[in-house]
C-alpha cells in the first residue's frame, strides 16, 4: 500500500489516489450511495492528512481512469501545461493550499497556474480546505467573459433570468421575462429550460427571446436549454441561437449517457461561432454541471462525486464558455442530503471552477425531497456572492414551476446588491438605468415615472 498512515494503534490504508480522494471528501450522500465514502470520521480525517502530504506531481503519474478508456482523461493530459505547472510542481497538496492563501502569492500568480492544474489537483486541495478557504481563494480568481456584455468583472454579480413555464406558453414565458427585467435580472443570459425538446418548440422560444432582446436593445444573450443536437439542427436551419447549451460531466461514459462527446461539442461551438451573433466577445457556450451526475449515470469509475465534478470543468474550459453553472442542489438528497452538504458542494464547485479559469455561477437550489429550505439558500447565496460568484439564477419568487425545484429569486439578487454592493454587468447596468428600472445607484428606481418597458406590458396585454 502506497498511501498509509498509522493513527494511535490503527493502520489506515488507501489503495490508490482515487480511494484516497473519496475517503478524504467531506461527507455527502452521493459517496455513501457509491459505497466509497469514509466509514468513520477518523478515517476521513486521516485520509485528509495523507492527502495533504501527497505531491502534486503524483496526479500526473497516477491517473484515475486509463486515458485509453476515457476521452476526458485524454483531454486533461493533453491540455496540461508543464510550463504553467513549474511554479507549483514542488508542492504537496497541503503546501498548495498554503500557497493559494499566501499573501506573497499574487492573484496573477494564481491565474498563471490555471493550465498547469488538473481538475484532480483542484479537487484534492478543496478537500483539505475549510469553507472560508474556498471563499477566500475563489475571490482571488477573476474570470471575465463576453458575448453581448462583460461578465465576471470584480465587484459585480450577474443573473440568469429563468422564465420557465410548464407548457412553454409564449405569453407565460414573456410575462416572467418582463417581470425579471423589471427587477433588474437577466444580464448573464435569459435562459429557458424547455418543457419539451422538440425542434419546432425550441425554435419558437428562440424567436420569442430574440424578439424581446432585439426590440428593447437589451445588452444580453438568450439561450433555450435544449440538447446540443437539437440546437445544432436549429442553427443549420437559421434559428437565432446566441448561446449553445449542454449538460456535461467528468467522464466519457457519463457524457455518453447525456448523448454527447467532445467532438459534438466542438462541432456545435464552431457552428455557433460562424453565426457571428456576439457583439463584444465570442464566448458562447453555456454548460451546466452538478455533483452526482456521473454516479447517476453509473459512469463514475469509483471516483468521488466532487472529483468527477471538477473533471467536468476540464471539459468546460476546452470550449471557452460564457457561463458555467453548477446546479448544486437539483439532483436530490441521494447525492447531497441536506442544506449543509449543498452549501459545502456549492462552495467547492465554485472554487474548483474559478481556479481552473471558468466563469463559474451557481444555481443555488434544492428540491422538496431534500432536507433543505430557503434559509439554506440565503446562506449559500451570500457566501458565494462574497466569494465573487459570477452569476446566480433569477426566477419569479424562487419557484420554478416547470422544473419543480426552488432556487434564487429576482429579489434575491437585489438583496445581494443591497448588502454587498455588487452590480450587474456594466452594459446591462447602463441599460437598466436608461430604461428607468434602476435608479443609477444599483437599486430599483423609486421614481413615479413607469419604466420604459411599460409598452411591452401593454403589448402583451393586447392593447
Amino acid at each position: 500500500m502506497k498511501y498509509t498512515r498509522t493513527f494511535k494503534t490503527n493502520n489506515y490504508n488507501f489503495k490508490d489516489i482515487k480511494t484516497l480522494l473519496a475517503k478524504a471528501s467531506p461527507l455527502r450522500s452521493a459517496d455513501e450511495l457509491a459505497g466509497i465514502a469514509s466509514v468513520s470520521e477518523i478515517e476521513r480525517a486521516v485520509a485528509q492528512w495523507v492527502l495533504a502530504d501527497l505531491p502534486l506531481t503524483e496526479f500526473l503519474e497516477e491517473l484515475l481512469i486509463p486515458p485509453e478508456d476515457d476521452e476526458v482523461s485524454r483531454l486533461i493530459l493533453e491540455s496540461h501545461d508543464q510550463t504553467a505547472f513549474a511554479q507549483i510542481s514542488s508542492l504537496t497538496v497541503g503546501g498548495f493550499r498554503e500557497w493559494l492563501l499566501n499573501d506573497a502569492t499574487s492573484d496573477a500568480d494564481i491565474a498563471g497556474v490555471r493550465w498547469g492544474l488538473t481538475p484532480e489537483m483542484t479537487a484534492a486541495v478543496s478537500k483539505i480546505m475549510r469553507n472560508q478557504d474556498l471563499i477566500a481563494v475563489a475571490k482571488r480568481c477573476a474570470v471575465t467573459t463576453r458575448f453581448r456584455n462583460t461578465i465576471g468583472l470584480p465587484g459585480r454579480i450577474s443573473t440568469r433570468l429563468q422564465p420557465n413555464h410548464p407548457t412553454d406558453d409564449p405569453k407565460g414565458i414573456a410575462a416572467s421575462v418582463l417581470d425579471g427585467l423589471l427587477y433588474g435580472n437577466g444580464d448573464a443570459v435569459i435562459g429557458i429550460n424547455p418543457a419539451t425538446d422538440s425542434p419546432k418548440n425550441v425554435a419558437n422560444l428562440l424567436r420569442l427571446l430574440d424578439d424581446i432582446i432585439g426590440q428593447h436593445q437589451i445588452p444580453t444573450q438568450s439561450c433555450v436549454l435544449a440538447h446540443v443536437t437539437t440546437t445544432l439542427e436549429l442553427m443549420r436551419s437559421g434559428a437565432p441561437v446566441d448561446l449553445v447549451f449542454q449538460s456535461i460531466a467528468g467522464t466519457e461514459a457519463a457524457n455518453k449517457s447525456f448523448g454527447i462527446n467532445l467532438a459534438l461539442l466542438a462541432e456545435a461551438k464552431e457552428t455557433a461561432l460562424a453565426l457571428g451573433r456576439g457583439t463584444v466577445g465570442n464566448n458562447l457556450m453555456y454548460f451546466e454541471t452538478g455533483q452526482g451526475s456521473a454516479l447517476s449515470a453509473n459512469a463514475h469509475h469509483g471516483i468521488d462525486a466532487q472529483t468527477c465534478e471538477a473533471r467536468a470543468y476540464a471539459v468546460a474550459r476546452a470550449f471557452s464558455p460564457l457561463l458555467v453553472n453548477t446546479v448544486v442542489g437539483f439532483i436530490g438528497p441521494e447525492y447531497l442530503f441536506d442544506g449543509k452538504q449543498i452549501i459545502r458542494a456549492g462552495l467547492e464547485d465554485h472554487f474548483c471552477g474559478k481556479l481552473l479559469g471558468l466563469p463559474m455561477g451557481c444555481d443555488v437550489c434544492y428540491t422538496n425531497h431534500a432536507e433543505a429550505d430557503q434559509n439554506d439558500m440565503d446562506n449559500l447565496m451570500t457566501l458565494l456572492a462574497v466569494a465573487g460568484c459570477t452569476f446566480i439564477m433569477g426566477i419569479p419568487g424562487g419557484d420554478d414551476i416547470m422544473l419543480a425545484y426552488q432556487t434564487t429569486s429576482f429579489h434575491d439578487a437585489l438583496y445581494l446588491r443591497r448588502v454587498l454592493g455588487l452590480r450587474p454587468a456594466p452594459e446591462f447596468e447602463d441599460w437598466l438605468d436608461r430604461m428607468g428600472i434602476f435608479d443609477g445607484n444599483n437599486a430599483l428606481s423609486q421614481s413615479i415615472e413607469p419604466p420604459k418597458l411599460s409598452g411591452a406590458i401593454r403589448q402583451l396585454m393586447g392593447n
Binding site: L33, K171, G259, E334, N368, P396, G397, I401, A404
Partner: protein, 255 residues
C-alpha cells in the same frame, strides 16, 4: 409596494409581480411561499394506496400486477435510488411466470416522488393511453404497479416481459405550485443498462395547468409509433410532431 404589472399574472402561475418591501418580498408573498413548501414536503411523504389503484386499473378492463422493489421505507427510497431500479427476486419470478405472448408495450406505474400525482392523474391518464393503444392495435402487457420505483425500473420489467417498448408513468418530484405532476418515459428495446439518452420523456402531465391526458397520450402515441417504426428511442428520435394538429386529430379519433 405593489407592482404595476400585476395583470401579467393571468399568463402564468409563476410568482411574478410579487411587489416588494425595499429589495425584499412583501410579508404575504413570504408566507405564501412557506406554506407551499410545507405542502410539497408533506406530498413527498404521502403514501400510495396501490391496492385501490389496482382495482381501478381492473375497472378500465386491464389486468394489473403489483410488484415490489426492495425499498423498505420512504426515507430509504430517497437515499437509495439504486434499490428503486430493481425488482425483488419474488417479483421477477412472478413476472416471468406471467409471460404469455410477446407484446408491443410494457406499461408500468410508480408513485415516484409524488404519490399525490399518481392518485390524482394516474387512472385518467392510463384510461386515455389504453384507449389510444387499443385503437392502434398496439398490444400491452398487464399493467405493472410498483411502489417506490425509479424510471430505470422500466428497463428490467420491459426486458423480462420481452416487450418492444417500455413506458413508465412516474410521479415527478413536487414543486411549490405543482405537487401532482406526472412524467412518462418511453424506452425502445428495454434492457437493464439503458441510459437516459435512450429515453423520450413527456413531463408535466397535470391538467388543467400542465399537459392534459389527451394531449400527453397523443404525443405518446406519436412517439410509440415512431419508435416501433424506426426501431429506436431517445435523443436520436426527435419529437418532430406538429403537436397542435396531431393532438386535435387524435382527440377526435379517440372520441
Amino acid at each position: 409596494m405593489g407592482d404595476p404589472w400585476m395583470e401579467l399574472r393571468q399568463f402564468t402561475q409563476a410568482r411574478i409581480a410579487l411587489g416588494r418591501a425595499g429589495h425584499a418580498v412583501p410579508t404575504q408573498a413570504l408566507l405564501d411561499f412557506q406554506l407551499a413548501h410545507a405542502e410539497a414536503r408533506d406530498a413527498v411523504h404521502f403514501p400510495w394506496d396501490i391496492d385501490a389503484f389496482a382495482g381501478q386499473v381492473h375497472d378500465l378492463g386491464e389486468e394489473a400486477v403489483i410488484l415490489s422493489t426492495s425499498v423498505s421505507s420512504r426515507s430509504e427510497y430517497l437515499r437509495r435510488p439504486d434499490l428503486g431500479r430493481a425488482l425483488t427476486e419474488a417479483s421477477r419470478t412472478r413476472l416471468n411466470n406471467l409471460q404469455a405472448s410477446a407484446v408491443d408495450v410494457a406499461l408500468i406505474v410508480t408513485n415516484g416522488l409524488s404519490s399525490t400525482a399518481v392518485e390524482r392523474h394516474g387512472i385518467p391518464l392510463l384510461q386515455a393511453i389504453v384507449k389510444g393503444f387499443r385503437s392502434r392495435q398496439i398490444s400491452i402487457a398487464p399493467v405493472a404497479l410498483v411502489a417506490n420505483g425509479r424510471v430505470a425500473l422500466a428497463d428490467e420489467i420491459g426486458s423480462v416481459l420481452a416487450a418492444k417498448l417500455a413506458i413508465i408513468v412516474v410521479g415527478e418530484r413536487p414543486g411549490l405550485s405543482a405537487a401532482d405532476s406526472l412524467g412518462l418515459y418511453l424506452t425502445f428495446a428495454p434492457r437493464p443498462g439503458n441510459t437516459d439518452a435512450e429515453r423520450n420523456c413527456i413531463s408535466n402531465i397535470r391538467p388543467p395547468e400542465g399537459f392534459g391526458y389527451a394531449e400527453a397520450t397523443a404525443k405518446l402515441l406519436y412517439l410509440t409509433g415512431e419508435a416501433l417504426r424506426r426501431g429506436k428511442s431517445g435523443v436520436t428520435l426527435k419529437d418532430d410532431m406538429d403537436t397542435e394538429n396531431l393532438v386535435l386529430q387524435t382527440i377526435i379519433e379517440l372520441d
